[in-house]
């Protein structure tokens, strides 16, 4: 459909959101991501039966950690959508970008380098959304 969405979104592909490790989410913030979200199948429609439900739990857990370390849990999100929902994909990308813009850069970066980078959001997505 070629609907446009913000350029700061970069996609990392996994076979199923069930593969998304808490480690990946935290590492992304450590490296300097300003926001991360996970896009999985609609609940109940997981290609691998239950992967997306497990992913959601892990995302919730990682949010807590981010909150505790002061990065902020709202920089991380989990979304569910089907591969036929192009407009929804754009909506999510825009929504997430807006949210991260409001929050400003990932505070971790302030400790490492003084320059303010462009806001960056990465998306960890399932195979079908590649």
């Amino acid at each position: 459909m070629r609907l446009s969405y913000p350029t700061n979104i970069k996609i990392i592909q996994v076979p199923c959101t069930g593969k998304v490790d808490v480690l990946y989410l935290l590492k992304a913030f450590q490296y300097g991501a300003d926001g991360v979200y996970v896009a999985g199948c609609m609940e109940g429609d997981c290609h691998f039966l239950t992967g997306n439900l497990r992913a959601r739990k892990r995302v919730e857990y990682a949010k807590k950690i981010l909150e505790e370390v002061g990065i902020g849990g709202e920089r991380l999100e989990m979304y569910n959508l089907s591969s036929a929902q192009g407009p929804r994909f754009v909506e999510i990308a825009t929504e997430m970008t807006e949210r991260i813009k409001k929050l400003g850069p990932n505070p971790i970066k302030a400790f490492r380098a003084p320059s303010v980078e462009n806001n960056k959001t990465i998306l960890i997505s399932e195979e079908k959304n590649r």
């Binding site: 076979p15 069930g18 480690l23 490296y31 300097g32 036929a84 192009g86």
Partner: protein, 1485 residues
């Protein structure tokens, strides 16, 4: 040995290929099964892409899966399968031969785009100016003439739709792409329009003014209003060009040595010169007069064709290097021989028709008689030639008109035209005649000159005769006949004959045998314009006789083509015949729209001078006028796509092709067409825009549909709040010969209502229905949810009419409610649940294939052989067999594949292609050497992302040893190049930065594998779908993002490792569990394919539930069939039967199962090794607790009744009052499902009783009668036979009591609105089907079950007989309740699915699977709990083990493993983390 196998051996071996007709989901499934079982498959699809109706659906019931999401992987598999050849745009035209050896002829429509070159980028569609209704969106949106049916289409290629040659082009003597340039003008592409005109006509400015425009005569618009102003539009673009600062002269590609001479600088000569010069020839025109242009200069007055305009077109030609030598008449100074001697290699003659035809009457030599042409020549050369005050011009052609109008402008007071026929026959253009009259010319019709009267050698008068019209002459016009004695005299000062011109052939060389016609014209080949003298060609008036400018131009161009071919030694004729038919448009298709008329100078103004009379269009008018074009040919042949396609895939010269194939068997899966809703006119479809079909609504719901998934109604695109569905439109309707039930409409309407409510909770949804037929697995629960959770209103009634509110376009539905009251209700949108009809071409198909049809036009089959057609070797599946849903279609498709392969099983593997691969390079421990290929994708990526900049950037990245950019990385030549570069640069990792891995990763993986690299040493960066396509307006940011994506891919690929798939041998034995109908048919099916079968039955006899059935609804004898099956199975050498068998343990995986069975009276244990398992454990009739069952011999179930009748234990003649109660113990909270068979069983038994005892009163007390498909006919028959149907609902169940005097049933009849009391002699309970005890088996084999304990298939829609565990299949009642015929289809389907494994000697396992590092595992059981497929287990060593053959590769275990002991191959933690980290490392160290 089996008899069948023996006969086959005596015959020549069958052809190991199958033809599948129809590329819908049925055809796709059949093709995949067959191709995966070792057969070559041809899929013939009439559309440009496979996918069928399923691709058009939004969601599927009852799981609400996205239809496209689930079919798309199948499409890709078909598209990439080595042994499936998809023939799109094709149809079968002939089928001959016998099972095992058929000859098929297939007609393939031209696609106009080369499949092997098209990359699917869509650049052709982007530039295509023609929009047509998009059939894929049910005409709710528009698409281009260059199109792909839908984004995921397979073949992944565009096609160009043509209806034929547009009439305008067909009628243009020069063959100009008229529709094309009109379309381009509409798009404001004026330069392109002009370039297109010049492809066939180098004199556009001239033809924009003086053409006789036969194109307009042919224009389809003239059938209803005025033709498009084609000539004026041509003039508009040429004027537009004139207004530009510089003319853009086309580039001559190759300069050639040879010189060509052209005689005559008229339109034919100029045209020939232009096209020859374009070809690179050096061209010299020899012109006898002082000015080039021929009749255009000398014959056409300036007020029609200003000299500057003429000059402009001639200058354009001269700029190509054409030399025009004026005042150089041939014949006097030099001859044709002299030219040849001077080195001209070919000559074109275009000297025209210069001589005026004489009147041949007395007085023609008097002073004052001036031939028309001579007069025009004189005036046009600036001479004065006074004619006096009264002038008679004789003739009715354009020259006559030119003369009179010139004479008026020269001051002549009175001018007459004398014409011997009527105005209707006048050859001059009507508008010219009109303009002449406006200027004061008088025309005398039916008058001919007899004698010119002179005085002193000068004209003074003209004696004329009046004429009348007689019989038509050879020109087809009525012949003028003089009226005797009608002579009269006109006083005139001059007489100008303008009755025609003749040809002066004195230029031809003497002494040669020229072929001259009787009319004095030079004869040439009509296609090539070659004269009979080699090297000399001719065209224009000297060949055709006096004709039009555009004819001369056409002739000049054709001759130029011939001359070029002649000089290059090519065949002059080849490929020059016209191929496409002329596109026809009926007047009904055309909406009136008045023509725009450009202005003219006023009469008083114009007769004073020679200023151009006709003015041109303004830009706005031109565009509006161009928009009137009807696109008759669909593709306008504007040829924009040819320039836009950088892959050079467009080929407008393609023609229809005929292919001859040999196949062993045939499967027809042509699907269905929608029943035309116009058949039910009272619903207003076609008149009211907001009455739509269900398929239209599917497209509206679809996110990729016409409104991007926003629910809008067609009239005003407003969001509807009240939507109604009307069921049974074109179904269950004998009045239109659609007496059958279409089986799917109740469910799809329910689904559409649910999805609509999910889109917009404010929508209220109402479904008007007769019976809700939710008879499939999980359907009734879905229907319940629709009512309870989604608040969808179901109203049982028949809608009598739909009326539109004229202002709001809302719709008022009138119906009779359950209380008998007439109700009117208003809705915003009405969806008609249209039924299924046979496919559009069903009659032709049945004739071509010689198969029998049912009276409804569906394919005739036998219920006991549901996939066999009347022609041996031809099998059927899907909706063409009878209306059905997707899972049943898929089952039948697999079943048909089993039958089709059975016939040819001896040739399994003979025609399939297997790839030979080079050994893999060892890359362990070798430093990564990465090659990166960046794709422009035409302009899809390159137009946005700065590819060269990305390339330069990538060069700076570590480990990258090679970077290149390609126009299309996926093109075939690039694949070859990639392989070469891998070898040359010793690459051991490859990254392609292009499009989606979903469509292209397998291709590139195959390429690197061909070059000796493991396919996992590859990574893709999607810089198109994720970058250029979605960041079109941000070129710089897109380029930066592309760099990041490539950097990430490179980081990951550097850590990828080769993955080795393990090869395991396959045990070719099958285990079938269950000896009922399904199990036996499955066992026989496999054995007939040559595989060993072990059949386990827990009872000590075969037959299962089939033993309880005696006759089918259509009268087949079931017990006979059962005995036949048992006999065959007992005698089959490949089948081993284990009776009293119980499965006690199970293990292994696909290809290598091990199952323990205890059997016999002693319960002996044995282990069976097998490659596949088929579960057919069956079901049985529910024995009710309701209605005193078991307490009274007069109360029994349907099966018990059938058995008693079948065994003649009771005589129906003895029973006068019989009550049957439906849904006993079904569709109730304990068993919420419909058993699918009980309604038809009740009707079957009722009809049986009526047959024996017609006077019996039979009452069937029902909730919904669910006689889906053709079973509906039996319902109709039962009602006709007098069976009484009384409806009840759960709140008002019938009450039964046993009284002294007999049984008593009381039931409330809603149609009579009172309670009926019946005292039946028999009370028959229609109870449902329950599965046989299967819990232990399910646990042992880890097979999932539904809450009702039926087995649960891998996917409800597309894998109906597969378990999620590979290698295990199911069929029959174990899957869900179903009639015998469907169980048989499923059994065959299971056979086919099993064959896809058994056909192979080995399987490859592994690849992307999870692996446990033993040392790290603490056996915490997390993985065991997490795995959705129950794969991990703790092995003898006390650590987790994951079987590579069973792992599905989702990675859930790896993500959850607390010790990080599990890694998913190819997605290892390090690989994903390095990719993430690369995203943030902009500066490379």
């Amino acid at each position: 040995m089996d008899e069948k196998v023996k006969t086959q051996q005596n015959l020549p071996s069958p052809v190991g290929a199958v033809l599948v007709i129809g590329g819908g989901v049925g055809g796709i499934q059949a093709a995949l099964d067959l191709a995966n079982s070792g057969f070559k498959v041809y899929v013939v699809e009439e559309e440009s892409a496979i996918g069928g109706k399923m691709a058009q659906l939004d969601k599927t019931f009852p799981t609400n899966d996205c239809s496209m999401c689930i079919i798309s992987p199948k499409l890709v598999e078909v598209g990439r399968h080595l042994n499936i050849e998809v023939l799109s745009y094709a149809e079968v035209v002939r089928l001959e031969g016998e099972p095992g050896n058929f000859s098929v002829q297939i007609k393939q429509k031209p696609r106009f785009i080369e499949l092997d070159r098209c990359t699917g980028c869509g650049d052709c569609a982007k530039v295509c100016p023609v929009e047509v209704p998009n059939a894929f969106d049910e005409n709710l949106s528009r698409r281009k003439a260059a199109y792909k049916r839908y984004p995921q289409a397979i073949p992944n290629a565009f096609a160009i739709e043509k209806r034929g040659i547009s009439p305008c082009k067909a009628n243009c003597p020069a063959g100009i792409h008229v529709q094309g340039y009109i379309a381009l003008i509409k798009q404001k592409k004026f330069k392109e329009a002009l370039n297109l005109i010049r492809k066939n006509n180098p004199l556009p400015s001239i033809c924009g003014r003086v053409c006789t425009h036969p194109c307009e005569t042919a224009c389809s618009r003239s059938k209803v209003d005025d033709p498009i102003a084609i000539m004026h539009l041509k003039r508009f673009v040429s004027d537009w060009e004139y207004s530009q600062k510089e003319l853009e002269v086309p580039r001559v590609e190759t300069k050639r040595e040879e010189r060509v001479a052209i005689i005559g600088a008229g339109p034919a000569g100029l045209s020939a010169a232009y096209y020859l010069a374009l070809e690179g020839y050096s061209v010299t025109i020899f012109e006898s007069s002082s000015e080039p242009g021929g009749m255009l200069y000398w014959g056409i007055p300036e007020y029609r064709l200003p000299r500057a305009i003429l000059k402009k077109d001639i200058e354009f030609i001269k700029q190509l290097g054409v030399e025009i030598r004026t005042n150089t008449p041939i014949g006097e100074q030099f001859s044709l021989e002299d030219l040849l001697a001077a080195g001209f290699k070919a000559i074109f003659l275009g000297v025209g028709a210069q001589k005026s035809t004489r009147l041949n009457i007395e007085g023609e030599n008097l002073a004052g008689v001036i031939p028309g042409i001579d007069y025009l020549k004189a005036i046009n050369s600036g001479k004065e030639l006074p004619l006096g005050n009264r002038v008679a011009v004789i003739g009715g052609g354009n020259v006559a008109i030119d003369v009179v109008r010139t004479a008026i402008r020269k001051g002549t007071k009175e001018v007459f035209i004398l014409y011997r026929r009527r105005r209707e026959e006048m050859p001059a253009l009507p508008e010219e005649i009109r303009e002449a009259e406006e200027e004061g010319v008088k025309i005398h019709y039916l008058v001919a000159p007899k004698k010119i009267i002179g005085k002193e050698g000068k004209v003074v008068g003209l004696e004329c005769l009046r004429m009348e019209l007689g019989e038509p002459d050879e020109s087809g016009r009525p012949r003028p006949v003089p009226i005797a004695g009608s002579e009269f005299i006109l006083e005139v000062d001059s007489v100008i004959p303008a009755i025609g011109q003749s040809i002066d052939l004195s230029c031809l060389s003497q002494g040669k045998d020229w072929n001259i016609s009787r009319r004095g014209t030079l004869v040439v080949d009509p296609i090539t314009y070659a004269t009979n003298i080699p090297g000399i060609f001719a065209g224009g008036d000297m060949v055709s006789g006096p004709a039009t400018v555009v004819e001369a131009i056409g002739a000049g161009r054709e001759a130029a083509i011939s001359i070029a071919r002649y000089l290059q030694g090519m065949d002059l004729h080849e490929g020059r015949e016209k191929k496409l038919p002329v596109a026809e448009i009926t007047p009904q298709e055309i909406k009136k729209h008045p023509r725009y008329h450009p202005p003219k100078i006023s009469v008083t103004e114009r007769i004073k001078n020679f200023q151009e009379v006709q003015q041109g269009f303004s830009e706005e008018e031109a565009i509006l006028e161009a928009s009137r074009c009807l696109n008759c040919g669909i593709c306008s042949e504007c040829l924009q796509c040819v320039d836009a396609c950088l892959a050079k895939a467009i080929n407008h010269t393609m023609t229809e092709k005929y292919l001859n194939l040999k196949v062993g068997s045939v499967i027809i899966a042509p699907g269905f067409s929608l029943t035309d809703p116009i058949l039910r006119a009272e619903y207003g479809y076609g008149c009211y825009p907001n009455v739509i079909t269900s398929l239209e609504f599917e497209r509206i719901l679809s996110a990729s549909g016409p409104f991007q998934g926003h629910i809008c109604r067609p009239s005003d695109h407003a969001a509807p709040k009240r939507i109604a569905w009307i069921q049974c439109v074109g179904s269950r309707d004998q009045s239109i010969n659609k007496g059958y039930c279409s089986s799917v409409c109740c469910m799809y309407a329910t689904k559409e209502a649910i999805i609509a409510r999910e889109h917009d909770p404010e929508i209220s949804a109402t479904i008007f229905y007769m019976d809700i037929r939710a008879h499939g697995k999980g359907f009734d629960q879905y229907y319940e949810r629709a009512q309870k959770d989604y608040k969808i209103r179901f109203i049982r009634c028949q809608v009598s009419k739909v009326i539109e509110h004229p202002k709001s376009k809302n719709l008022i539905i009138t119906y009779v409610d359950e209380n008998g009251k007439i109700v009117e209700e208003e809705f915003d949108l009405v969806v008609l649940s249209v039924g299924m009809s046979p496919p559009g071409n069903f009659r032709i198909l049945s004739r071509t294939l010689d198969i029998k049809l049912t009276p409804y036009g569906f394919c005739q089959t036998d219920p006991l052989n549901p996939m066999e057609t009347s022609r041996p070797g031809v099998y059927v599946c899907g909706a063409f067999q009878s209306p059905k849903d997707i899972p049943e279609t898929v089952s039948q498709a697999s079943g048909a594949a089993a039958l089709a392969s059975e016939v040819i099983s001896l040739s399994r593997g003979q025609l399939v292609t297997k790839k030979e691969l080079p050994p893999e390079q060892n890359v362990t421990g070798v430093e990564p050497r990465i090659g990166v290929f960046i794709c422009h994708c035409g302009i899809n990526i390159g137009g946005i992302v700065n590819v060269p900049a990305v390339k330069e950037y990538v060069k700076t990245l570590p480990q990258v040893v090679y970077v290149d950019e390609n126009l299309y990385t996926c093109s075939q030549d690039t694949q070859a190049k990639i392989k070469e570069i891998i070898r040359e640069y010793r690459l051991n990792r490859v990254v392609v930065a292009s499009c989606s891995p979903r469509t292209h990763e397998p291709l590139f993986q195959e390429t690197i594998r061909d070059a000796g690299l493991n396919k996992y040493l590859f990574e893709m960066a999607n810089i198109r779908d994720q970058c250029s396509w979605v960041h079109m307006d941000k070129k710089e940011e897109a380029t930066e993002k592309a760099k990041a994506l490539v950097r990430m891919a490179i980081a990951k690929v550097s850590l990828t490792e080769p993955l080795v798939e393990q090869e395991l041998s396959i045990n070719k034995r099958a285990l079938v569990v269950g000896g009922g109908a399904a199990g036996m048919v499955a066992a026989l099916g496999l054995a007939d394919q040559g595989f060993e079968v072990v059949l386990v039955e827990k009872e000590n006899y075969l037959g299962g539930n089939l033993r309880n059935l005696y006759y089918t609804i259509n009268g087949d004898n079931v017990q006979e069939f059962l005995n036949y099956l048992i006999k065959r199975i007992q005698t089959h050498p490949l089948i081993q039967i284990i009776l009293n068998g119980v499965i006690v343990d199970a293990g292994g995986f696909k290809g290598n199962f091990k199952t323990g069975i205890m059997s016999g009276p002693g319960m002996a244990y044995r282990k069976v090794e097998h490659g596949v398992t088929i579960i057919a454990t069956g079901g049985e009739e529910y024995k009710p607790k309701e209605y005193f069952y078991g307490e009274d011999p007069r109360i029994m179930t349907q099966q018990e009744l059938e058995k008693k009748i079948g065994k003649k234990e009771i005589d129906p003649k003895n029973f006068q009052e019989i009550v049957m109660i439906q849904c006993v113990g079904s569709r109730v909270p304990e068993r919420p499902y419909c058993s699918r068979v009980c309604c038809s069983s009740a009707i079957k038994n009722a009809l049986k009783i009526k047959e024996i005892n017609p006077s019996a009163n039979i009452y069937i007390i029902y909730r919904d009668i669910r006689t889906y498909g053709f079973l509906e006919d039996y319902y109709t028959q039962a009602r006709k036979a007098g069976v009484i149907f009384i409806r009840y609902d759960l709140q008002n169940k019938p009450e039964v009591s046993i009284e002294k005097e007999g049984l008593r049933v009381s039931v409330f009849d809603p149609s009579l609105r009172e309670t009926l009391i019946i005292n039946p002699n028999l009370l028959i309970l229609s109870t449902g089907i329950i599965p046989r005890e299967n819990e232990e088996l399910a646990t042992l084999m880890k097979l999932p079950r539904t809450p009702e304990n039926f087995f649960l298939e891998a996917h409800m829609k597309l894998r109906p007989v597969d378990f999620a565990t590979e290698g295990i299949f199911l069929c029959g009642l174990a899957h869900s309740p179903k009639p015998l015929t469907e169980s048989l289809a499923q059994a065959k389907a299971a056979v086919s699915r099993a064959c896809t494994i058994l056909a192979h000697d080995t399987i490859m396992v592994g690849g992307i699977v999870a692996q446990v590092e033993k040392e790290k595992c603490s056996a915490c059981l997390t993985c065991v709990r997490v795995c959705p497929y129950n794969v991990p287990f703790i092995n003898d060593e006390g650590v987790a083990q994951i079987d590579v053959a069973l792992c599905q590769g989702c990675g859930s275990c790896a993500a959850e493993c607390p010790g990080k002991a599990i890694q998913l191959q190819h997605f290892k933690d390090a690989q994903i983390i390095v990719k993430t980290s690369a995203l943030f490392k902009e500066k490379v160290a």
